[in-house]
Amino acid sequence: MINVHAGLPEFEYVKPGTMAEASRFLVDHVGEARLFTGGTDTFVRMRDGFWKEKYLVDVKHLQGMRTIRFDPEKGLTLGAAVNMNEVIASAEVNAHYPLLAEAAQTVASYQLRNRATIAGNICNASPAGDTLGACLVYNASLYVHGVDGLRDELLRTFFCGPGKTVLHVGDIVTELNFPIPPQGARGKYIKLGRNVISDLAIVGITVLGFPDADVPSGFRYRIALASVAPTPLVVEAAGGLLEEKAASAETIEAAAQLVMEACSPIDDVRGSARYRKLMVRNLTRRALTQVASDLAASGEAH
């Protein structure tokens, strides 16, 4: 009989007093200990028997983990334990990084967003993670505490495969850092789910466009895709095309085609590979059209 209310398996709960202690504990219990933040991926994986750690390590209480900070020169810093609703409610996020709030808003439900974090979404490294595209197009980096000290990791080179990242045993992401976004940037996240709300993305398209007088078209674009490759994908080629040529309907169509060709989705319960590819093309076209028109409108307003 299937037990529909299976509880969590047995584990010990560990709440270290410092980051150093936490990293050390993870190293000393390699394969047996896991860090968690909101636990919304961790508890489900443990309950379903995929993860069998003996220790869950909680560092949410440590300094800086819950802080949102904005510096007009350096940009935005999100403590790793800041939850999605806190991101959505932040005036600074909405003023300077609206795509981050827009993407977070598509995650699950209000209750779940009170626990789920962007750091967890990133470290979980599911190619379907809804906030990964926004973090990628804003050129986020992660501040990592490891046994050998502190370092920065660029998000662009962070993902190695589904569930796999460049993090080593003992590494703890303590902050997400976002540089000041390009002036006049406009963005769009389109998530295609099986229902309008609260399902993982079948495909997710993130576009950020911004003026740049140094390129022939006058605009640059960054395009990131979710759920269509083993890792979240940034398609540079399409951005290159849009730097060369003005974003007419034809150029957008050609860029959307390039984006479609760059992805390698799989068949799964949420959609077939073929369907995903076609949706990538259609939704990229839609997102680019929207961003191009927002950029044109804001240009006229100046």
Binding site: G7, L8, R47, L112, N114
Partner: protein, 160 residues
Amino acid sequence: MSNHKINVTVNGEVEVVEVPANMTLLRMLREKLALTGTKNGCSAGECGACTVILNGEPVNSCMVLAVECDGASVMTIEGLSKDGQLHALQQAVIDQGAVQCGFCTPGVLMSAYALLQRNAKPTDEEIREALVGNLCRCTGYNRIVEAVKQAADQPETVAA
């Protein structure tokens, strides 16, 4: 597996509870404190039947460890009525016929209560958005939305 002794304020009462590490807040409420108004629908963060208010914000109590709640304040459906008087939201779900089997209702009421705390006059769209994580198999949702609107129209709702 170790037990942890935690202090947690539940519906205004300070409780000292011994909880094993793997016990969720949901199980603690139901099994340690006999507060069975909070329901277990899925144990997976999907259905919202287990919604309670933790430090002022609604959470899926099946997705929170009890030990994480040391020092926290929790409000459950049992804390909504005062002195035998139903809260305006409770009266409204009765008036509007927004309860059928009632399994989802405690969670719905917790989400709706939290919504009215942060937004005293929500639009239909905002109500639906706030209740995305509360699945109801019976009512078809329209009556729930009507009930939240009825309660929002009553000035004492927000003060309560």
